[in-house]
Amino acid sequence: MDIDGDATVEVTPEVRPTRPRRYDKFMYDFTQQSLPSCKPVLTPVWVISTFLLMGIICIPIGFVSLSASQSVVEIVDRYDIGCIPETFRGNKVDYIKDGSISKNCSRSIEVPKQMKAPIHIYYQLDNYYQNHRRYVKSRSDKQLLYGSKHTDTACQPEEYSNGFPVVPCGLIAWSLFNDTYRFSRRAEELKVNRKNIAWKSDRDHKFGKEVFPFNFQNGTLIGGGNLDPNIPLSDQEDLIVWMRTAALSSFRKLYGRIEEDLEAGDIIEVHLSNNYNTYSFGGKKTLVLSTSSWIGGKNDFLGMAYICIGSSSIVMSLIFLLIHLRTPRPYLDTSYLSWNW
């Protein structure tokens, strides 16, 4: 059986004149599995250069992202305990549930480095499972967009109250975060821009312009913040931000932006009203002020990871180079075969 000679084989006997030759050639090669192809082989040269290339690409990326991350100035201030008066420290839940006590609280933070505007104000909650399935599902996107007629059972247990539909319904909206922050520097109020904190796409297409809060937070159990019934949902940016449920159990959400530079050493007075109840389940509340870079917030991991991978790639390429130089496996060496070639 002569397989080697391609010339001995006649090409498909019936070559129809109407079809182009190239098509026939293609079909022939296709059916005989002999289409032109590229067959990569891992030769030492390729291995070494691949690792080298990986190193060369990864290390710069690593350094760039690391420096970007380093340039971000971040002030983190946990206030959930500090904002409870000493007398209530033993019984935080009662304190937060008691509507008659003023929840105002004042904190001062020092700016360690110069912070360029815009400075993002985040509130961070920990041990708050916004990604719990019961929670994530408890919303009605239809209702948010089209109004109370579309209230459905997905919103349980917060779909009807006193016989009327709740707009916006569901646990997510019900548990709206309602701490508020005001900032002042040297007794002068810092302007906080609270517009454009939600995604524009959400404002325009997910939350109805004609849908107004209705019958909201009217139940026995108040979960969180209330909404101004005269403002359509599409303009309730706090709600919109809150409704983008966080991926992890500890998360930040944008509160607003300070559009002034802060200088190193500045003392910022934070006037906050500590309304939101995270005490009943041991959640933490933190206020975060942060500048941003192209990489986002402060995150050294990305840069470190790239630098690690890059340098280990270089090391690998060196190791393989050494191995190749010292004890090369001769390619095409058939002595490695389990039989004689």
């Binding site: 599995q33 349980q156 139940g219």
Partner: protein, 1190 residues
């Protein structure tokens, strides 16, 4: 593509059906044959057909009409029935159960429609495929049912649609028409009631078969009498197309009907102007339709291993679900106090005034734990790769397409392509260890040529090709002879021995001359060959008269017989007419009409055939031909002359078979009137009996087949097929053991073995041909001793070898790429220099296979290099295959061409049919069919290797692909208070295995190849990769799973660490994960692709693009919570470098592992691949490394 020939038209479906059940039966025959025979032929259980009285025949409505339905469904029952059939697959039931679970409110993880999508998708695809096939069947049924034939109605033949025909009606068929139902022949245009039919549609044989109408009915028809009512009593409809038992009462006569009196639906009438018959079986009860069962499906070895690993995956799945459920339970327990008010859990309504409201979606901690378990099953469902089954089917389809299209497996001489009849076992072709081959028609061409004749103790072996010059001299010497020879033109030339020819032209005087006369008479008469005459005029240029030349084509079921008749004709004894009652032979120009009184057909018990003929002068003779083993014991030994002739003939027989000829012994005997009478009575009785006819006939035959006068013997050559020795050599080098199982006698088998290089002269032959159990036992023991003596130092080593092989099969970790372990290839060249060949005959096998000797035989046979079984019956062939199959895990392959190989083909793991001379039963029972034996080399070494390697990788990759996805989900669930939240959108989770990642898998499964066919064919040892299970084993599975674990951790934790303490929302991170996992698995695949075609590029990169497109599409629907996510993400560079980091970090260990392995422990395939590619292109700078991403 002709992958499923059963689906096109009736003819084809009729053909595919075939002997299925008969074969099944024959496999079971060992245990059940007796009962079965009794059942089928019970006298009380017959059906009555009143000829030409359909009303009376059908008055109980017990017989089916002639309408056929090969379609499975009707318009109304399509949906329920199709669904019912589809849900026979366990996988689909799993799907269904998951989807059903998801409909329960507390478990609704996915949206309702979404969760049903995968199931609906699969069901729809399959239903559409089934529906289309069934529609085509409907169409062909309709065509079939609306055909028309002539039916006798009130004395006239009128056209009637097939579907309206009923049993009992009399039907007239013209030449070249197809028969509408199974009919008993009443008469034909031939005076003698002969009809020729072609049974191509039924059993694929293209030669004509003769069917006879009984003389009693023929005469009546021809004389134009009105057809009277007769009564046919026949057996109940059954599948056996080779048997029919009935009798007929007509004109107060009662006579038998058998196989030769019935013509079956689907056959065509040929060479006969018309035929009239009475319908006995119609529609679904016809034999053709009864045979429409498919042969049992086989499951590939790899698939059963795969199922074992699927069990592991199920274990992982359950573990994961348990972890989630327990975690959920503990979490609930810990937060029990707050559950009512917890903002993200709140399980209570709070109405005004009532302090504690009702609970909602909360059923207590134990139930919640349980529900959590169930819902995690829903979320993690694709851990069990259901899509794998569909993918595998598609891939096998593609592989079959390439196997069918392979030009090197196209047999141009018969125009037959390779056929894939079974789509389940492509990859088994890459792991074959034992090849069981038939000899006749498989190793040899089965084109018989008459070579030698031993006549009355004298050997005539100098054969010359029919040389015209010689003939002409001959003819000019004696003119009358030449004329007679010229009159018949044979289709094939036969070399003749001039000495014998001269003898035949002498007067008929003397023992030798008489013996020669009878010898050739027997050759011409004692057979079932049909001469087909076609008149052609040709002018002879030498003598200027116009000669009438009749070309004869001999049609017969046995090529041996054809060869013998042709030879007889070449020597001047031309058979030119055969009817049921007589034959006519042209003996050197003299026409001789012989009455055939009876014919005992060849059967495998007697191994001979005899015909009783009355000469014109009134004398009666029995002419017998048969296998020497069965003939030599019934020969006459009266005087010294006999003795001498017998001895000489025996010598010749041995000589013939030693050169590889097939031998037959020819003998005759005069019958006295008394003997004749006695025989006639018995024959009559036996042939009309409905029960046990064959054994009665056998007894009758024994009456006259004794005390025979030996005339001589014939040697017929069976040519080796092209490329057989090379193929066998390659298969052996590839580590396969080739066993030949043949019905031929020992000497022939050995000689063929030698000529096809199966046996070599330096081999030591162990021959086992005992005739009793004791003898066999002794022979086996001797052989064993002999063997052990030779191998006494190697034996111990061998045992160890076997152990290693076993541990491999148990899936224990073994270093599969260790090149220095010579464990498999040295098995052949064992320490002892002599290799053994075991030759065993059918008789011994009778004793051995039934008894405890089996295991001894197995031990002996597996330690011999070659095993040759001769004189084996079909069931014994299956028995031998079973002997090996049941004792090892090694894959067996059986290859054969005849009906006698069917049982073996069905028994073996892989059955291959050769489309040869002996009909198509073997092909119909086979998994693959091809034109030539030599294609086996390419099929196994090239396609087998490719298929195995492709499917092996495919399975592992699919496990990985789904597991990495599920594990990623699992890690996330752990961070969501065990609440089975999926960050991915419902649609993305569902589309992941259906759309995002499916196409590249299929493409790689079909198109990837590690080595070129040239390399594979040049180095058969590369086939060992399949034997060592290099592409799929436990070790690889666990390595893959470890890799999966790592990759899933990277996949989960990299985004987690990067996006922790940011505003990232659940949909964004889900979107990131979706894209990352799709790119990751595609890059992983890309890293392993060995051959990059344009198509592969499209598939791999295309599916990443498609995934993006899908994600974008999903994110532009405002109603979904993930609206616009991807656009926000894509704006940030972090997103992109996160993905890059995931890919690089996840694939790094795998890449390093691969590099190290290839550098230090290269596999055979790896080296061959390097040699193949780098040798061709020394500066292979163009070739890309696998890891392109950097």
């Amino acid at each position: 593509m002709e992958l499923q020939p059963n689906s096109t038209t009736f003819e084809i479906s009729g053909a595919s059906l075939r002997v299925g059940d008969k074969l099944n039966k024959s496999l079971r025959v060992r245990h059940k044959s007796m009962q079965l025979e009794e059942n089928t032929s019970l006298e009380s259980n017959h059906r009555l057909i009143y000829v030409n009285d359909p009303r009376k025949t059908n008055d109980k409505y017990e017989f089916s009409g002639n309408e056929i339905r090969t379609s499975k469904y009707t318009f109304i029952n399509f949906l329920p029935k199709n669904l019912f059939i589809q849900f026979h697959r366990v996988a689909y039931l799993y799907f269904l159960a998951i989807a059903a679970l998801n409909q329960l409110p507390p478990l609704a993880v996915f949206g309702r429609t979404v969760s049903l999508f995968p199931l609906l998708f699969v069901l729809c695809v399959t239903a559409i495929k089934d529906g289309y096939e069934d529609w085509r069947r409907h169409r062909s049924d309709r065509n079939e049912n609306n055909r028309e034939s002539l039916v006798l109605h009130a004395g006239n033949f009128e056209r009637k649609e097939w579907k309206k025909m009923r049993a009992g009606e009399v039907v007239k068929i013209y030449a070249n028409e197809t028969l509408p139902c199974d009919m008993v022949l009443l008469g034909t245009s031939d005076i003698n009631g002969i009809a020729y039919i072609q049974t191509m549609n039924l059993d694929g044989e293209s030669n004509l078969k003769t069917r006879y109408a009984r003389q009693e009915t023929t005469s009546m028809l021809l004389e134009g009498e009105k057809i009277q009512t007769g009564l046919i009593r026949c057996e109940q409809p059954n599948r056996n197309i080779y048997e029919f038992t009935a009798n007929m009462e007509y004109n107060e006569q009662r006579f038998p009907l058998n196989q030769s009196n019935i013509i079956l639906r689907g056959c065509q009438l040929k060479n006969t102007e018309w035929a009239v018959g009475v319908v006995v079986y119609a529609g679904q009860e016809t034999k053709a339709m009864m045979n429409s069962a498919m042969s049992p499906s086989k499951r590939s070895r790899l698939e059963s291993y795969m199922n074992r690993e699927t069990l592991w995956l199920s274990t992982f799945l359950l573990t994961m679900c348990l972890v989630v459920a327990l975690g959920m339970g503990l979490w609930l327990q810990r937060n029990k106090e707050q559950l009512d008010e917890l903002p993200y859990y709140r399980n209570r309504y709070f109405e005004k005034g009532i302090s504690i409201g009702r609970l909602y979606k909360y059923y207590g901690i134990p139930m919640e734990t349980f529900f959590s378990f169930l819902s995690s099953i829903i979320v993690f469902q694709i851990m069990i790769p259901i899509s794998l089954y569909i993918t595998m089917e598609l891939v096998r389809l593609g592989q079959s397409y390439f196997m069918i299209g392979d030009k090197y497996m196209y047999d141009s001489s018969s125009g037959s392509r390779f056929q894939c009849r079974s789509l389940n076992i492509n990859e088994d072709l890459g792991q074959i260890r034992y090849v069981f081959s038939d000899k006749t028609g498989t190793l040899t061409e089965n084109k018989m040529e008459f070579r030698r004749a031993s006549l009355y103790g004298k050997n005539y072996c100098r054969s010359f090709p029919q040389d015209d010059g010689l003939r002409r001299v001959d003819s000019s010497a004696s003119k009358p002879i030449s004329l007679s020879q010229r009159r018949w033109k044979l289709k094939s030339e036969v070399p003749v021995d001039s000495e014998l020819l001269t003898l035949l032209h002498e007067d008929i005087v003397g023992d030798e001359r008489i013996a020669a006369h009878e010898f050739f008479l027997t050759l011409a008469a004692c057979n079932t060959v049909i001469p087909i005459l076609s008149r052609t005029s040709s002018s002879d240029c030498l003598s200027d008269q116009l000669l009438e030349v009749e070309a004869i084509d001999y049609q017969g079921e046995s090529p041996d017989e054809q060869a013998l008749v042709t030879a007889a004709s070449a020597y001047g004894y031309t058979l030119f007419e055969r009817t049921s009652g007589h034959i006519a032979i042209d003996v050197n120009g003299e026409r001789l009409r012989l009455d055939v009184l009876g014919l005992h057909e060849f059967d495998s018990v007697r191994k001979r055939m005899s015909v009783v003929i009355r000469f014109p002068n009134g004398s009666v003779k029995v002419l017998v031909k048969g296998a020497d083993s069965s003939m030599l014991c019934i020969l006459r030994m009266r005087n010294e002359k006999d003795e001498h002739v017998n001895q000489a003939t025996k010598g010749h027989l041995t000589e013939y078979s030693s050169v590889g000829l097939r031998t037959l012994v020819i003998a005759s005997r005069d019958l006295t009137d008394a003997e004749l009478e006695k025989w006639q009575i018995m024959y009559e009785d036996a042939s009309t009996s409905l029960t046990d006819r064959s054994s009665k006939l056998r007894q009758t035959a024994a009456l006259i087949e004794c005390d025979l006068h030996l005339l001589g013997a014939t040697g017929v050559e069976d040519k080796l097929q092209e490329g057989v020795p090379e193929t066998i050599e390659s298969l052996r080098q590839a580590g396969m053991k080739v066993w030949v199982l043949t019905g031929d006698k020992q000497e022939t088998a050995i000689s063929i073995g030698l000529s096809c290089k199966l046996l070599t002269p330096d081999m030591q032959q162990i021959i086992i041909n005992g005739t009793s159990e004791v003898e066999c036992r002794k022979l086996l023991l001797d052989a064993k001793l002999k063997y052990e003596a030779e191998f006494n130092d190697g034996n111990h080593w061998k045992v160890e070898l076997r152990k290693t092989a076993e541990s491999e099969f148990l899936g224990l970790p073994n270093s599969d790429n260790s090149p220095n372990l010579p464990m498999w290839n040295s098995e052949e060249e064992g320490p002892g220099s002599t290799s053994f060949a075991l030759i065993i005959d059918g008789n011994s096998l009778v004793y051995i296979l039934e008894k405890d000797l089996e295991s001894k035989l197995y031990d002996l046979a597996t330690s011999c290099k070659v095993v040759l079984c001769c004189r084996v019956a079909p069931l014994q062939k299956a028995g031998i295959v079973d002997l090996v199959k049941s004792r090892t895990d090694d894959m067996t392959l059986a290859i054969g061409d005849g009906a006698n190989d069917v049982s073996m083909i069905q028994m073996a793991d892989v059955g291959i049919g050769i489309c040869g001379q002996e009909g198509r039963q073997a092909v119909m029972a086979s998994d693959f069919a091809m034109g030539q034996f030599r294609f086996l080399k390419r099929l196994l070494l090239v396609h087998g290797h490719w298929n195995y390697q492709r499917i092996g990788y495919l399975v592992l990759y699919n496990f990985y692909r789904n597991a990495v996805f599920v594990l990623m989900l699992f890690w996330y669930v752990l961070t969501t208070a065990f609440s089975t939240t999926s960050a991915l959108t419902d649609w993305s989770s569902v589309l992941y295995s259906v759309i995002y990642t499916s196409v590249p898998t299929v493409m790689v499964g079909i198109l990837d190849k590690d080595l070129s066919h040239k390399t594979l064919l040049r180095n058969p040892k590369l086939y060992g990769a399949g034997h060592r299970q290099e592409s799929y084993n436990m070790y690889l599975f666990w390595i893959t799973m470890l890799d999966t674990l790592w990759q899933s951790l990277v996949l989960f934790y990299v985004p987690l660490l990067i996006y922790k303490d940011t505003t990232i929302d659940i949909w964004s991170i889900g979107s990131l994960w979706t894209i990352a996992v799709v790119i990751l698995v595609n890059m992983h695949l890309a890293m392993d692709i060995q051959r990059w075609l344009l198509l592969t590029h499209f598939a791999v990169w295309g599916s990443i693009v498609i995934t993006y497109a899908c994600v974008v599409a999903l994110d532009t629907i405002p109603r979904l919570p993930n609206y616009w996510t991807i656009f926000h993400l894509a704006q940030s560079p972090t997103y992109w470098i996160t993905i890059l980091l995931i890919i690089v970090l996840a694939l790094l260990p795998r890449f390093i592992f691969k590099v190290v392995q290839q550098m230090f422990w290269p596999s055979d395939i790896q080296i061959a691949r390097e040699a193949e590619i780098l040798r061709k292109q020394p500066n292979s700078l163009w070739s890309k490394t696998i890891q392109g991403s950097g």
